[in-house]
Every structure is written in C-alpha cells, then in structure tokens.
C-alpha cells in the first residue's frame, strides 16, 4: 500500500466536532508542508463554531470575531463540513474507520459537574450551561424552561460562565435587544422579574477565575447595581503574600475593582448583582411542590495545600439565602463517545498528548486522536486550543510517517460523502451554513442586531428551501 499524503492519495482525516479545537486542528493539518490532507468535519449541529456560537455570551460579540479565521480554514478546497450529523447515532466509529486514515475527536466538555449536595435536583435548580445554551439558541435547548418569575437567583461559581449567566440575568431588555441572543430568550428575559442575583465564589477574590474586563463590565450595567461585601473582598494573609510574591498585577487590579464595588453606594437601579466570596452551598431547600426556595451556605476560610494552592475549608458557620432559581457552574466534563475510550476520573477521552489509548494496555490505538476540552479538560481561552491542537497534529504526522494509520477500505471523498448523506439526508454543507449566516445577519440588521439566529433545524431547512 502506498503511504497516503500525496495528490493522488491524500491523507483522509475525519474531525468530529466543529468547535475551536476542531478548526485549529484542521488548519494545522491543511497547512502542513509536504503532506496532502483532506479534512471532513462533522458536527451534531447544522451550524459550526461550537461554543463560539452556543457558549460565548451574546453581549460579547468581539470574542466571536474568531469565526472569521475559522471560515478561512473552511474555504480550503480540501475541507468539507457535514453539519447535523450525530456521531454515535447517524454514523459510528466503524463507519469512519472505513473511510478515513485518521479520526480526531474534538467534542468538548458537554456536561456540567454536579455540586453533590442535597436538593440539587429540586425544580428551579439548573446547570448554568443549559441556560447558556438556551439563551444562545442551541436547537437542543431552545425549549428549556426557566422560572424567571422568581425575584432572587443564585449562580454558583465565579468562572466566566458563571459571570456570563449573572450578567445576562441583570441586563435590561434594552441592552439585550442589540445582541444576537435568541428571540425567545429575549422575550422571556424581557418579562423576567429577577431583582437580585447572587454570584457565589467558594474561595476569595484573588482565586476567582473571572477576568478583569468581566468584573469591570458588571460594574457598568445599565439597570443593575453591583454589590460586594467589604469583609469578603479583603485579601487574607496567604492570598496577599501570594499576590505580592508573584507581582501579579492583574489580580491586584481585580481586588482593587472589587473593593471599589464594596465601597460603592447603590444607585437604586432596579436589579442588584451581589458578588459573594468564601461561601459554598451545602444544601438547596425546597417547598412541598419540590421547588427551590432557599440555599444553605457555609462560610469558608482559605488553607494552603502542601503544593501551595489556597483551597476553601468550611468554617462551620452557616447562613441561609432565600433564592428561587439556582444555576450551578462549578466545572464541566466531557461526555463519553460510543466506541471511544474514556477516562471517568478526568472526564476526558483517555489519551496521551492527543493519542487515544487502549483502556487495557494503556498503549496508543492506531489512527484515533483527541484535541481540545475532550483531551485536556475545560481550561483556557479559545486560543489555548491552538497549541493543544498543534500537539495532537504533531502526533498524527509522526504516526503517518511511521506508517501507523488506519487502513480504510474506501479512502475517497465521494464515497465518504455518499455514506454520510445516506445516513443523514438532512445534513448541512459549509455553503448551507454561509447562506444561513447571511440570512441571520440580514434578519438581525433591521433590528440593529448582529444577527437573529435560527434556533430550529426545521427553520434552517426551510430557510434554505429544503
């Protein structure tokens, strides 16, 4: 057999998952000198970009500008996109092995970690990601219901998802109306009666994962006052020492902004965003109807681990917060893919530098790889996936050079296309997406919005005249 990677016999690669890691991997593969690669990217959704479309907040359009770089990758003549194709349902690993020399999974971290406390499943307690997917128009989540008739909500966590959720809950309808938030979410939030939103961090301000621009932004909301507790934003001795030692100016600035919030007099705006630190929920309390009515919190202090990390330790002092809506955002984990080895403990595909490992021998399996959050867990910013994908592609190229790849029976693009379209006749091409994109932008333009999203697969098909 001739080694693939030439014009006559291109290396055929399938990428499962059209988020940032998938695009960065495709880019690295297609730019590779001396190897001719064909990339077929499939995604469960008709639309590409993964969390850039379905995760990044609608009022953070600038972050979404990375899609222009992704579209350049997709414009490569040897790149194809198959949207609306569900791996594990429409097509299987066996199908991919029949058509590709290498398979790369970049499916992200699709589920939430649980808090593991009593009452977590009461009505009104939700994973933050469901709310995010809902307001961003993800077709699978558009019909979720959130009881926005409640007056008080708590968001557990102080990462960027937590602060996005808190901020969206506090935005006025007017502010949201100029974003690409899903139409139904805009309507629901317009009728929202939420008055107080608590953002709860288990550690102190120096350990909070949200960034300074994110913290500043909540201080400038049109119709919500931001409130912090003076005693919670002061650094404990260990945190102060760590910040001073590392001369970490970003953290110093973050603490300074939060202290300013603690000193602010509320301007009497109609909503309040209350940032709390050093508290952990220990129980959600319900009424007879099984709805959340309150959250019990324990106050924490910080304690250094042997390696020097400051971790939260409960003090034994409790308080009760009356809230009718709870969003948890305490971490994410990947979802196992049918037929792909998984590491339950880390919540990722079992891998070494991106090479998927056999669960029994712990040795790499031929031709299968992982990149992005499903490889390393949910850390970093969008761009972090670029060096991550580069590492995986490096492994793929080494293995190709060593002749250690899959031996597909039908390694050609048209056979793969026939197979995919046969399994999922409603699948979407990149041209379909570019057309949908134009239509969304046009629909939004009239209302002064970046776009008005299609949120139903049927609507997308109808818009394309299919």
């Amino acid at each position: 057999m001739t080694k693939p990677g030439t014009e006559a016999h291109p290396l055929r690669v399938a990428i499962v998952g059209a988020g940032p890691a998938g695009y960065y991997a495709a880019d690295h593969l297609l730019r590779r000198d001396g190897v001719v690669v064909e990339v077929d990217m499939i995604d469960r959704l008709p639309t590409p970009y993964g969390l850039v479309r379905a995760g990044v907040a609608p009022d953070h359009q600038k972050i979404k500008s990375v899609t222009a770089a992704f579209d350049k990758v997709a414009a490569h003549p040897r790149f194809r996109f198959y949207g609306g194709v569900d791996f594990g349902k429409d097509i299987t690993v066996a199908d991919l092995r029949r058509h590709y020399h290498q398979i790369l999974y970049s499916t992200g971290a699709q589920t939430d970690r649980r808090m593991g406390i009593p009452g977590e499943d009461l009505k009104g307690s939700h994973p933050a990601t469901e709310f995010v997917a809902w307001y961003n128009g993800h077709p699978d989540y558009r019909d979720c219901q959130f009881d926005l008739s409640q007056e008080r909500a708590a968001v557990v966590g102080v990462g960027n998802v937590a602060i996005d959720v808190a901020r969206i809950l506090c935005r006025s309808a007017q502010e949201l109306a100029t974003t690409d938030i899903a139409d139904y979410a805009l309507e629901a939030l317009r009728r929202s009666r939420i008055k107080e939103v608590y953002l709860l961090g288990r550690r102190g301000p120096a350990q909070a994962a949200f960034t300074n621009p994110e913290v500043k932004e909540v201080g400038e909301l049109a119709d919500a006052d931001v409130i912090a507790q003076p005693e919670e934003v002061e650094l404990d001795e260990a945190s102060r020492a760590a910040v001073e030692r590392s001369q970490d100016r970003a953290t110093m600035k973050k603490v300074q902004i939060l202290r300013e919030y603690a000193a602010r007099k509320p301007a009497g705006k109609s909503k309040r965003l209350i940032i709390r630190f050093l508290v952990s929920p220990v129980e959600l309390c319900g009424n007879e109807a099984g709805e959340v009515v309150a959250m019990r919190l324990v106050r924490n202090r910080l304690d250094a681990t042997p390696a020097g990390t400051l971790q939260a330790k409960p003090t034994g002092q409790f308080e009760t917060l009356p809230v009718g809506l709870v969003f948890r955002s305490v971490g994410y984990r990947g979802v196992p893919l049918p037929g792909v080895p998984f590491h339950e403990g880390w919540g990722v595909i079992l891998n070494e530098h991106g090479r998927i490992l056999d669960p029994d021998t712990k040795q790499p399996v031929a031709g299968e790889y992982a990149a992005g959050w499903i490889k390393r867990g949910p850390t970093g910013v969008i761009g972090t996936n670029k060096p991550d994908a580069a590492q995986t592609v490096e492994c793929m190229m080494e293995d190709l050079a060593a002749g250690w790849i899959l031996e597909p029976e039908e390694p050609d693009a048209s056979a793969a296309e026939r197979m995919i379209r046969g399994r999922q006749p409603k699948c979407f091409s990149y041209e379909d997406w570019l057309r949908l994109n134009e239509l969304e932008v046009a629909r939004g333009r009239a209302a002064g919005r970046p776009r008005a999203k299609f949120t139903r697969v049927e609507d997308m098909l109808a818009a394309l005249g299919r």
């Binding site: 972050i63 390393r376 970093g380 761009g383 996936n385």
Partner: protein
C-alpha cells in the same frame, strides 16, 4: 488551570521502585523510560519517597559503590505531594522556590500521576500562547 488538566492529556503512568531495590536498578529504569525521577513505593504501593538523578549523582560523588546499595538509603523522604485541584501557578511557584523537579500527584492515598517542572513550564507556555492568540485575533478583527 489545575494539575488535573495537565495529567488528563499526559497520562497517569508513574514509574515506581521499592526502597530495598538497588540503585543500579533505579538507574536502569531512569534510562529506559528517559525520565528524571522515580517514585519510591512500599509493598502496599504507598509512596515513601522519591529518588531523582540528582540524588544518585550526589551519592555517587562520595561513594562509588552506591549502585549496589538500596534505593531507600539515598532517596528523598520528605516528598511534597500535589493534589489534582492544585493550580498550575502555585505548583510552579512551589517547585521553583523549593527546587523540586518532580511532584507526585495523589488523591485519597492513590497515586494519580507525576508532574515534572518541564510539564509545568510547557503548560504555562501553552496557556500564554493561547491568550496571545486570542488577543491577536480580536485586535486583527478590529483593524479590518
């Protein structure tokens, strides 16, 4: 970013040795796996120390017969153990300040993996590269 995500794509393979095994065997394992340290475990797989190439060089400098001696006689007993949720920045700081090049990671008395200073540096580099990449993309999009 925490140590768990570093181990997630590094694998949890840890090469171990027992304290009564000779230093010669430790040298063999270090060379075979191209690594700088071994975790020393007792019969119940409980870590009791760490033996690094530096420990061996230090011992060999004053005792040429060190290779036949037991690993337990030259290992470092006072081992700092990392936890999966330890964050990268504090681990990097602790390893630099205390001049440790290998950090065994454990959870509920189970050895989950080992992190080297090289792993920490690489993870930090990738983190910064990612941030630069993201900022550049945004700035370029504003210029258009």
């Amino acid at each position: 970013m925490n140590i768990a995500s570093l181990l997630a794509s590094k694998g949890s393979k840890v090469i171990t040795i027992q304290p009564e095994q000779p230093v010669r065997q430790a040298v063999g394992l270090l060379a075979q796996h191209n690594i700088g340290a071994l975790v020393v475990v007792d019969r119940t797989s409980r870590p009791v120390g760490i033996v690094s190439e530096r420990d061996i060089v230090r011992a060999a400098a004053s005792n040429e017969r060190v290779f036949s001696e037991p690993v337990g006689s030259i290992m470092t007993r006072d081992v700092i153990i990392g936890l999966p949720h330890d964050d990268l920045a504090s681990v990097g700081h602790t390893m630099t300040e205390r001049r440790i090049r290998h950090l065994p990671v454990m959870e509920s008395s189970q050895l989950l993996g080992i992190v080297s200073i090289g792993d920490v540096v690489k993870a930090q580099r990738d983190q910064y590269q990612g941030e630069v990449e993201t900022l550049q993309t945004q700035i370029l999009s504003e210029e258009r």
